[in-house]
Symmetry: D2
Subunit: 159 residues, 4 copies
């Protein structure tokens, strides 16, 4: 479900939301690098900021629309370690929306110093099912769905 | 509110609940020691196991009695660092219960190897207010309050 | 690299290491379920306990053999949510060892109450590269490699 | 060591470093509020940004000066809960520097909406011992000590 070379290529050409964070001491482990589970926390920040950039708030989705987005699958491929105090770029794009199933793709990069290119640190995907607070499937509110659909690679392919 | 030499001495003589955990890799930081916020997670494990040892479950307290125990004050004094894979003893005792205010005291120790004495790693206290799920004060259910009171240093002093 | 239906079936017949933990309050989020990144922490506990069950300690691997096992890929498929205070079973098995590449497979289950069958909550895999502390590839110490190879599905198929 | 009413009053008049973060989903728990240990992570962010605002980097302190700042005492008093997606202000000031002992004071606030005053959520302190990487006491590099001393409440009192 998660990996598909063709769509990956198309995703690469997509516009993305980029959110910046700095590595926290709490996120490192005794290897001196960021503990691997914390990349999934960064993915969460990325998708929240993607929604926010569309004028949509995940907190409103929960409170007003009684919609939650539990994750049913998460994958991360780690390329190069992130270290304490690194400036991290989280790139996020919607990758699929079919019924109640929503998929996001992410790239984690270390910001380049003095205008240098960023370094790719990790890539990944998460798949979510739109649910009510009893974890029963439901549809995403229409204005969320429409805003996300416009950013899908399929949609762009039709242009 | 938290520090009181006299009660600290009395606490030392008290029976305690001891819960054992092993340090997780995720809990270390790049200093090679356990990140300082994680001791507060261990305190939480200690007070949950204290309640469990009394036949009381914190999960039932939330679900059946609609009681939560948000923390209003937490202190930890760090004596010696915990390291990855250490076997940790979490000692917990109720230290005060007045109306809706409940205080626990904790000691964190590293288990001794081959029968050696444990090493004290940290000590601390947490103060909680018994609340409903709207964060309004309420009384602790009677059987919780009675079970905890029997373990208070004041109570023992009267024996 | 990670998903392979045939090997998945063989994995199902394998003996496993089972490690038990209880869901911590700190591991829940405001959905009332365990935050999705924490399953990767449980995977880490599982592979450490697998090594320990073989008489091998991950802490010794780092200290004595100057070997670390950074993760290059992690996947988790979430089936049913874990909740606060649940008793969790972490099943772990080595799934592949080729040169410096080591793969583990995991199943996360909720322990059944009163003798009931456990419920599958999540499944996943992690792929690691055996490295020195400068993150350069190296071979796993021989006795680690041998102990793990005996548990691989391929090895069992030859019996 | 940590609480001292008079110095607390003086601290209130001090200039501070303010760092802004947004509450992450991962930081909430099933009470629907931020888990209490995470305030200590915010304190860490505050003291790092305080150093950065002085042109000093904690990462350089570790790498170039082989100085680490393990915490020997941490206290947090929780006034009002932080919730998911809240914009949080972390105010930090050095509160004491004597030999190898360094103390910071913190206030955590929720940013006011539409120009409203911020709401105080928590206050706290951390005490650190300046150490080398073997956890032996040493002096803070001179330019770090001087920059911090200028911000101490005592120093300001002399002006």
């Amino acid at each position: 479900m998660i990996r598909d070379q063709e769509s990956a290529e198309r995703l690469r050409e997509m516009p993305v939301t980029t959110h910046q964070v700095r590595v926290r001491y709490a996120e490192t482990d005794q290897m001196g690098i960021v503990y691997y589970a914390n990349y999934l926390v960064w993915f969460e920040l990325g998708r929240v900021e993607l929604l926010r950039s569309l004028g949509l708030a995940y907190s409103q989705l929960e409170k007003e629309h009684e919609c939650i987005l539990p994750v049913v699958e998460a994958t991360c491929r780690y390329r190069s370690p992130a270290r304490y105090d690194d400036e991290i770029l989280i790139e996020t794009r919607p990758a699929m929306l079919r019924g109640s199933v929503l998929k996001f793709a992410y790239r984690i990069l270390r910001k380049g110093v003095d205008g240098a290119e960023p370094t790719l640190l990790a890539e990944g995907e998460t798949v979510h099912i739109v649910c009510d607070d009893q974890l029963k499937r439901k549809a995403l509110p229409v204005h969320y769905a429409e805003a996300l659909r416009k950013l899908l690679p399929q949609h762009r392919g039709h242009e």
